[in-house]
Every structure is written in C-alpha cells, then in structure tokens.
Amino acid sequence: MQQVRDKVDTGSSVAAAVHEMTYAQALNRALAEELERDPSVIVMGEDVGAYGGVFGVTRDLQARFGPRRVLDTPISETGFLGCAVGAAMCGLRPVVEIMFVDFTLVCMDQIVNQAAKLPFLTGGQVRMPIVFRTQQGARPGTAAQHSQCLEALFAHVPGLRVLAPATPADAYGMLKAAIRSDDPVVYLEHKALYATVGPVRLSEYIVPIGMSNTVRSGSHVTALTYSAMVPVVLSAADALAEDGISVEVIDLRSLAPLDEAAVLESVKRTGHVVVIHEGWRRGGYGAELAGLIQELAFDWLDAPVGRMGARDVPKPFSPVFDSVYLPTKDSVISALRSTLC
C-alpha cells in the first residue's frame, strides 16, 4: 500500500538486511540497538520494564539491559520526566515513555519550561538529549482523554524537535536519530500504527531529523500529511489516480524542524495543496503550514491551502462519530478534488 522512497541513508549499508516487522517491533529494535551501542542511553516509563510496555515497544529490554538501564516508574510523569531532564544534563540520554500523549498535560512543565528552555537559558552550558516517546491518535472507542493529537502544541515551542513516523522503517530510523540528537525530541507514535507491518533496513539506517519523504509523486496537487494519515491519504491518491488526478503525497515525518524546501518545491510545482492531519483543525499544525506556504509560495498558489484536521470537539466516544471526527479516505478525496476546481 505504501511506497516508501527514502532519499537518504546515511549509515553504512554493508550489513544492512531488510526485515519485515511491525512498527512496534521496529521501535523495539531501535531501542535495543541504541541501548547496546551507547551505555548512556536509558529507558524510563510506566510498565516499560518488567512488562515491556503496554504497547510492547520496550519488550524484553529490561531483561536484556537490566533494571538500571530500563526503569519502571511510578505514575509520576512530572517526577520521571524531570528526572530525565536532570539526567540528560548530567550526561545520560534518557528515552522516556509517556503512555498516552494526553498524559503530557500533567507534566507539560518539564517538557516546555524545562527541557526546551534550559539549554538556551544557560547560554548553551547544558544540552538536553531526551526523547519523549509517546503515542497519540483516535481509534474507535477511545474517548476524549485518550485520543488527542497534540503535535501543534509541541511544534509551537522553540527548543523542541517534533517527529511523527508513519511506517516501521521510519519508526526505526527516526527513533535512532532522535536518540542521537542532543536536543529534546517529542517523538509521536500512533496507536493505530503499532501493528502495521513493513520492511525495515536494519543496522545503521538513520532518518535525519528535518527530512520529509515524498511517498508518492504527482503533478496536480500536493497532499501534506504525516503519521496514521499517510496511508489514508495514499489510498485517496490511488483512487484519484484512476480519475487521472495526480496527487503528490509528502509524509512530513519531521514537524519541527519542517522540511520547508521539499514542501515549497512541491507546492510551487503543483500550485495546489491540502494539509491533512488528525489534530484539531483550529490552530492545528496545518495552520502553521498554511501560514508558511501562503507566505512563501503566494504567487504559485492557484487555490488556497486546504486544511483538514479533526473536528474541533473532544473526541466523542461512540464510533458513529468517527467518520465525522477525523478525515477519511472519502473526505480527503473530495478535499483534493475540490481544491482543483
């Protein structure tokens, strides 16, 4: 379904073998390899140790690397995120798991006021190599407090890097990049993707932060998306292709920094663009993209930048609402179509 065409592989591909694995397994593999490679990497979070994580991402890591490297924490997000901040300033590279992005709201201070700001306000005396791993997104039957997509909040905050992988390959390659980054990274997984399977080139496959992936080339309209919306948009593009409409689909992958050059190049070529994400539309990440594109590609635009996001309501529980809450293949098709009219 998904055509991953990565532009860069910075690692040595000598021993690179391609394996089929799930998104969760790819993350697990990346964690294991980084724990192996660098003794300063530690993993912390609720149920990540003995149990292996509620989504299985940290499975077997504690058994392999011991409880000093893979730490089970109490339900104390402020406590253990702050602990990661302190540890990072003293030479460790913590990878912390916040089980649902919704729970970042109890510990936002440590992400926004501390991790993002301390390197700057100390005049660069400290660096902050932390990965805040979390997962977001709505699924049938998730309710208002377990379903949000908060990338717009994080992408607004200077000092943070914000990544959102869509495939097992990227889950692997981007997590490695995040762990090796000296900046704090908010690493947004998606609950609907953990079980998806795809090819992963192991060993030194790294996806540099700030690099998008054009997952489908096209000439009529550009679709900008990320995370679990990528397959939805790709299937919309497939459908439109049958009608002769050629959609270029860019998986942004890195929301901060944004791969501005790739976005602008595509938009200037097609003159039409729609942003599709699962975060709420009002003030969502699409707003930033629209603001940026209309500013830097004004003369190339044949139509306004289209924005699709979740309805501006808390996620309602009953699955009857799912198709009006989130963009769907059909609604994406009609948005892409209508921007061309």
Binding site: E46, P74, I75, T78, R139
Partner: protein, 323 residues
C-alpha cells in the same frame, strides 16, 4: 467492625455486588463480541469496595470515580440500561454516547464524571465538596481511586486542600495491589500508602476490601465526620482485581498464580454468601435475588442494544453552553 449486620441488610449489599459483577461480566462478553468499542476496565473482585462505600452515602451525596468506576456508579442506583447504552455508544446512554465506559456520569444520581486521567479526580472531588460547604449543604463527596494514584502529584495537592479547608470528602483508596502491570509496593518505599495521607492531617483507616460490611462501616464513619464538618478522611480497602487491567490484558503474566488464587478465594460475593448461608433458606433467597437481577440485566442490556446510535450531525452537541 461491629457485630455482623442483620441478614436483610447484607442481602441488599449482596444484590448490589451481584449486579455490578454481572453487569461487568456482560460488558466483557459484549466487548469480546466486538459490540463495545475501546477499552473497558473492570472492577470484578473489587465490588465490596464500591458497594460498601456507596451504601454509606445519602442519595444526594456525590461520587467521583475513575475509569474503573462501573461499580461505584451502579451502586449509586443509576439505570443499568443507560449504563449499558453508554458503553455501547448509544444516544440513550448516560452521556449520550459521548463518554463511554470510562466516564459514566449521572448528575441526577450524584455521579460526577469519572476520570481517566490518573489522579485528576481528587482535586475535582475537593471542589465538589467546597461547593457543598459554600451552599451550606451537608452533602459529602466520595472520591475513589487506586493505590497507584497516590504517586501522582496532583493527588497530594488535593489531599492537602481537603485537609486545610476541612472539606467533606472521603478518599477511598482501592488498593488492588497493582497499577496496571506494576506491583504497587515496588513503587513506594515501605509498606504504607496511608502514612502519606496521614501526613496531611486526616484520619486514615485500612479495611478488608473483600468484606463489604467492613468497608461500609469504615466509610460510614468517614461520612459522619465529613457531614459533621470535621473534614476529610482516608479509607484504604485492600482488594484485588480478578481480571486484567483492561479487557485486553489477561492479568496473568505479571501476577503469580498463587496470589491470584489466594484473592479469588476471598471473592467478596463468595465470602458474603458463605457467611449468610448459615441462615436457614438463605441459599434459596440469594438464588432468587440473583435470578431477578439477571432478568433485569437481560432486559436492560437488550434494550440498550436496541437503542439508537447518536446522530452524526449532532457531533457538536454539549461542547458549549447554549447561546
């Protein structure tokens, strides 16, 4: 605990526990059939805590529960059909299908929104209590949560607020020995959650959470204190969830079989039935009660299954106040 309560009273509690148990077993079945979307967090094994506590409340008192709140909510006397309808995402559900299993709310029965953010309910309960004081009402607030919640900072802030403002809240900690898959006592030093709470200056009690009368009595004492303006109390009920953290977790990989068996032998329904069965004719009476609950639940469940889904276009409903 005082002397054993009269059989009639205990039968009433038994029936409520049975109702909760069977409501949840039915939910599990519906979930397995794919009819309930999303996660459900069952309190099977912990019914005595919910039912015992609720029995100590007046009908106009308030309850703030959690995602594991079916028991607390049902024990307040809400309509099981509306509860089924909510977990099934129907328009007739308690929250019109907007909330689901984790948020069964019924303001008309004193049931404030249960919370699925660990710890968030404690501050909210203090506010509900503050409002009662403010109105000169003598209603009290029962706030239930798990032991792992006492590792969440906001819970501490709430305990302190309740203490310094002498608020009519009963903090009921259902210590089911685990927070998700993590053993409770691995996450604290020592063996007492109550010491932490006592440090805020409120009385704490520990009770056998498998004994519904014990819970009811401990909570009743706390309710009396609260109603008399003497402030908050903490009651910790030692208990166990028989199943996993949620329906997708068998609950067996991280808990020793011996432990599970030990607690299952202390099933609050079995214990009470055994105690009651000393009385002549009791077995038959309980059987009859169970059957009538079963029938009521059958009806409620079927009605809920037949109930309509919300209308998609009403997705905005409830977001903002009218006007």
């Amino acid at each position: 605990m005082t002397a054993t309560w009269p059989a009639d009273r205990l039968v009433g509690l038994y029936c409520q526990m049975y109702l909760v148990r069977r409501f949840e077993e039915r939910c599990l079945e519906l979930s397995r059939k794919g009819l309930i979307p999303g996660s459900i967090h069952l309190c099977i094994g912990q019914e005595a805590a919910a039912v015992g506590a609720a029995s100590a409340l007046r009908s106009d008192d308030l309850t703030v529960a959690t995602y594991r709140g079916h028991g607390h909510v049902l024990a307040r006397g809400i309509d099981p059909r509306a509860a089924f309808a909510e977990v099934l995402g129907r328009q007739t559900g308690l929250c019109k299908g907007r909330g689901g299993s984790m948020h069964l709310t019924d303001m008309s029965h004193g049931v404030l929104p249960p919370n699925s953010i660990v710890g968030a309910g404690l501050p909210i309960a203090t506010g509900a209590a503050l409002a009662q004081l403010h109105k000169g009402a003598d209603r009290v607030v029962l706030c239930s949560f798990g032991e792992g919640t006492l590792n969440q900072g906001g819970a501490h802030e709430a305990l302190n607020l309740a203490a310094i403002w002498s608020l009519p809240v009963i903090f009921l900690c259902e210590n089911n020995q685990y927070s998700e898959m993590t053993p409770a006592y691995q996450m604290i030093k020592g063996d007492s959650f109550a010491t932490r709470v006592a440090a805020y200056g409120m009385p704490t009690t520990k009770v056998d959470g498998m004994n519904v009368q014990a819970v009811a009595e401990a909570v009743a004492q706390a309710v009396t204190r609260a109603r008399n303006g003497e402030g908050p109390s903490y009651v910790e009920a030692d208990t166990y969830r028989f199943l996993g953290h949620y329906q997708g977790d068998p609950g067996t990989s991280y808990r020793p079989v011996d432990e599970i068996n030990y607690w299952r032998a202390r099933d609050p329904l079995l214990l009470l039935a055994a105690q009651l069965s000393a009385e002549a004719g009791m077995d038959m009476r309980l059987k009859a009660e169970e059957e009538s609950i079963e029938v009521a639940l059958d009806t409620a469940q079927q009605a809920a299954l037949d109930d309509p889904l919300p209308l998609r276009d009403d997705v905005w409903e409830g977001l903002y106040a009218a006007g």
